[in-house]
Symmetry: C2
C-alpha cells in the first residue's frame, strides 16, 4: 500500500468519481497559495472535512495543512518553539537584539531549544525532523543535526500478559530517562526541551508498542510545571484509521488531548492539529507558498466519506482481531520461527527469529503475490488498506503457514 | 500568480485537457511511493520531461524529485553533505563509531558541516533551509538554527551603466567576505563549508540582482581546491521560464555547470538537478515516502509542451524588454517616486521612495484589479504568468502611470 499511504487500495470508485468531476479538475489546475489566496470555500472545507467531529482528534480545534510528514513535523516543531519562547517573553515585544541576532542564526533571536525524541523513532528526513529520527544509521550518517535529547523507548517482552511486571519496569526505566534528559538539557546543556515527539507505535523502528500507561505518564512529565513543554504525537503512519480508530492515541485514554498531532500518508496531504494555545500571535510565522494542496483534499473528502459510509473503522477492528488471533495460533505452531505478535486494528507486526529468516519470508510471500514490509531488525509489518477483509486475511494466513511449513 | 507558482495563468486548456484524461485520473488516484514502487513508465517520464535537453539545465544529468522548494533545498543540502563526507572518507567504509554516534546526533557520525548563504536570501522555512534564509526576522525569530556562515549579497546602485565601478567594488567586497567565511568556519569555528547556496535573483529579499561576473567568481571560490565545496543555485522562484530562459543562471555564462539546481513553484513539483559526482553511493540516503508526485508531472508535461509550442520563452523576453523600456521612461517621468528598475524577462521589480509609498501603490493597483507583490523593504515585484503579453503590459503601465500622476 505504497508505504502505508493508500487507505482504500487501488482504483477506488469514490476517488475516481471525485477526479472525474470537471469542477475538481479546475481546482487541481488552479492550485492556490493557501496561506494568502485560498479559495472562498477553503475554510469551510477545513471545517467540514479535517475538523469534522468524527475526524479531528478529540479536543484539538486548530489545523494547519502541509504537504508531507516531514514538513508537518518541522512546522509543528516551529509552532512549539514559538509558543515556548512566547511564554518566556510574556507580553513583552521582540527586542531589537532578538530581531537582529536571529538574522545571523545567533542567540538570543535564534534560541537554543530542543525537541526530545526516542531511540528507534522515525519522524522524517529534513534536517529538523531528522534530528528526532533514530531508526537506522543510513538515514543520518554524514548529515549535520541538532544536539537534542534522545530517550529510550520501551522494549517489551511478549506475550504481554506473561511479562506484566518486567514491562512495567521497562516503562519506568524509559520514563526516568525522559525526566533525566529534561533536567540535563535544561541545567547542564542549556538547551531546554520545548517539546516531546513520539509515535503511538514506532513504525519504521520495528512496530514497537508502548502501554497506554507509558503515554499517560509521558504526558504528565511533559506538562508538569517544572518542564511545561508540549506533547506532539506523530500519527503520520498510524493516523487515518489503520488501528481501528482515526488516531491511534485515542486508544491511550490520555488525561487531556496531546498539544499537537501530525499526519500525512493515508490523509493524502500533510498537516497538524493543535490546541488553541499553540496558535502563534503574529501572521506569517508558519507559512510557505502552498500550505498544503486542495487537490489532496478532494481525494481526502472521498476517502473519509467512504470510511464513514462503509463503516471501515469497525471492519479494521474486526479483521484486525481475527488476524491477531490467527497469527497467535500460527506462532504457537511455529514458535521457533515467529514471535512477539502485536498490533492494533490491522496495524500488525511480528518478529522472526533472525533478520535472514525475516528477509526469506518476505521474499517468499512476494513470490506468492503478497507484499509485506520489513522494519526494525527482524520484524515483518502488515499495512493493508482499510478495505482489507477476512477473505484477504485468510489468503495471507494460508500462504504464511505454507511458507513456515516449508 | 499564487506567489509566482502559476506558469500559464488560470484554467489553461492544456492543463484542463490533461486532467480530463481518465488515464491521468487513475495516476492521480493511485499515487505511488516513487522511491520504491514507481510506475513502469516513471523513469521514461523523468527522461522525456524533466531531463529533456531543452528543459534540464545544461550539464546536469541527474534528477531527484520532491514536493516543494524547502524539501528540495533540504535534500540538496543532504546530498552535498554526503558527497563532502565521502570525499574525506575516501574509499573507507563507515566506522562503527560513525554509525553509532550519528544515532544520537553526535560527532563523528553527525558531522559539523555548514552551508554558506547570503544576507537577504530566502531558501525555505524548514529548520535546515531556514538556517540559510535571511530575508525577514519574522520568519526566523524563536526558531533554533544551525551556526552557518552568512555573507553579504551585492547591493547595487542603479542605473547600472552609471555605477559600473562602484558595483564592481561591491561585488569584490561580498566575494572577499565569502573567502573570509570559508576560512573562518574551517579554521576557527571547525564547521567547514560543504556547499554554497545562492539565488540567481534574490526574490523574497527584494529582487536583488548580482552580475554574471559575481556568480562566475563565486563559483571559482567555491570550487577551488582549498575549499572544494559544491555550488547550489536555488531556482525555486526564477526557474521555469520567467527570466526568458528555463533557468536564470543560464544568463551567467558560468565556466562549468553549477553542482545542484533546485526548483519548485512553476515546475509544479519540487526537486533538484545535480551533477553525476553528487549521486550518493548507497541507496536510501535520500529518500522519503512519496519522493515527488506523478500528478504534478501530468501538469508539468502539459505546461512544458505549451511553453515549447507557443514559444513562450521568446515571448517572455520580448515582453520583458518592452516592460523594462517603458518602466524606465516612467522612472524618468516620476524619478522622485520610483527608481532602480531591474529585471530579466518579465521577472521585473522597481523600488519606491519609501515603504509607505510602496504599500500605497500596491493597494491602488489592487483596487484597479492588478495584483502585484511587495518584497524587500520598498520594492514592488512583478510576477506575471509566461502568457503575459504586450497588451497586458500596457494595461499595467497605463494604470501605474495614472496612479503615480495622482
Amino acid at each position: 500500500m505504497q508505504i502505508s499511504s493508500m487507505p482504500l487500495g487501488y482504483n477506488h470508485p469514490a476517488m475516481l468519481k471525485a477526479l472525474a468531476d470537471p469542477v475538481n479538475q479546475k481546482i487541481i489546475a488552479n492550485r492556490p497559495a493557501l496561506g494568502v489566496f485560498p479559495g472562498k470555500d477553503w475554510p469551510d472545507k477545513l471545517r467540514k472535512i479535517l475538523l469534522h467531529k468524527e475526524i479531528a482528534p478529540p479536543g484539538l480545534s486548530h489545523i494547519t495543512t502541509m504537504m508531507c510528514g516531514s514538513c508537518s513535523n518541522e512546522n509543528a516543531f516551529k509552532t512549539i518553539f514559538i509558543w515556548y519562547a512566547e511564554k518566556q517573553r510574556g507580553d513583552a515585544p521582540f527586542t531589537r537584539e532578538e530581531m537582529e541576532s536571529c538574522m545571523m542564526n545567533q542567540t538570543p533571536g535564534t534560541p537554543r531549544f530542543s525537541i526530545l525524541s526516542f531511540k528507534g523513532a522515525f519522524h522524517g528526513r529534513t534536517l529538523g525532523s531528522l534530528s528526532t529520527t533514530h531508526s537506522k544509521y543510513i538515514h543520518k550518517i554524514d548529515i549535520p543535526g541538532f544536539d537534542w535529547p534522545t530517550a529510550s523507548f520501551p522494549v517489551y517482552k511478549y506475550p504481554l500478559d506473561e511479562n506484566i511486571r518486567e514491562n512495567q519496569q521497562e516503562d519506568n526505566r524509559c520514563l526516568a530517562e525522559v525526566e533525566e534528559l529534561f533536567e540535563k538539557y535544561k541545567t547542564e546543556k542549556k538547551i531546554p526541551v520545548a517539546g516531546v515527539i513520539v509515535e503511538p507505535i514506532q513504525a519504521e523502528g520495528g512496530d514497537n508498542h508502548a502501554s497506554p500507561e507509558f503515554f499517560q505518564e509521558l504526558q504528565r512529565i511533559t506538562k508538569k510545571v517544572l518542564h511545561d513543554a508540549a506533547l506532539l504525537i506523530d500519527e503520520v503512519q498510524t493516523g487515518g484509521g489503520p488501528t481501528g480508530k482515526m488516531w491511534c492515541h485515542e486508544h491511550f485514554n490520555l488525561e487531556s488531548p496531546p498539544d499537537v498531532v501530525t499526519f500525512s500518508k493515508k490523509m493524502q496531504l500533510g498537516g497538524y492539529y493543535h490546541v488553541k494555545s499553540l496558535k502563534p500571535k503574529q501572521s506569517y510565522r508558519i507559512f510557505n507558498t502552498w500550505m498544503g494542496d486542495p487537490s489532496k483534499m478532494i481525494l481526502l473528502e472521498a476517502i473519509l466519506e467512504t470510511i464513514r459510509k462503509e463503516n471501515l473503522l469497525h471492519r479494521v477492528t474486526t479483521v484486525g482481531d481475527y488476524m491477531l488471533k490467527q497469527l497467535t495460533s500460527l506462532q504457537n505452531e511455529f514458535s521457533t520461527m515467529i514471535n512477539s505478535i502485536r498490533g492494533r486494528g490491522t496495524f500488525i507486526a511480528f518478529n522472526c527469529s533472525s533478520p535472514e529468516l525475516r528477509d526469506t519470508i518476505i521474499k517468499k510471500l512476494l513470490s506468492k503475490g503478497i507484499q509485506t514490509g520489513g522494519c526494525g531488525t527482524a520484524t515483518i509489518r502488515l499495512r493493508p488498506a482499510l478495505t482489507f477483509t477476512e477473505h484477504h486475511a485468510n489468503i495471507f494466513l494460508d500462504t504464511l503457514r505454507s511458507i513456515l511449513k516449508q
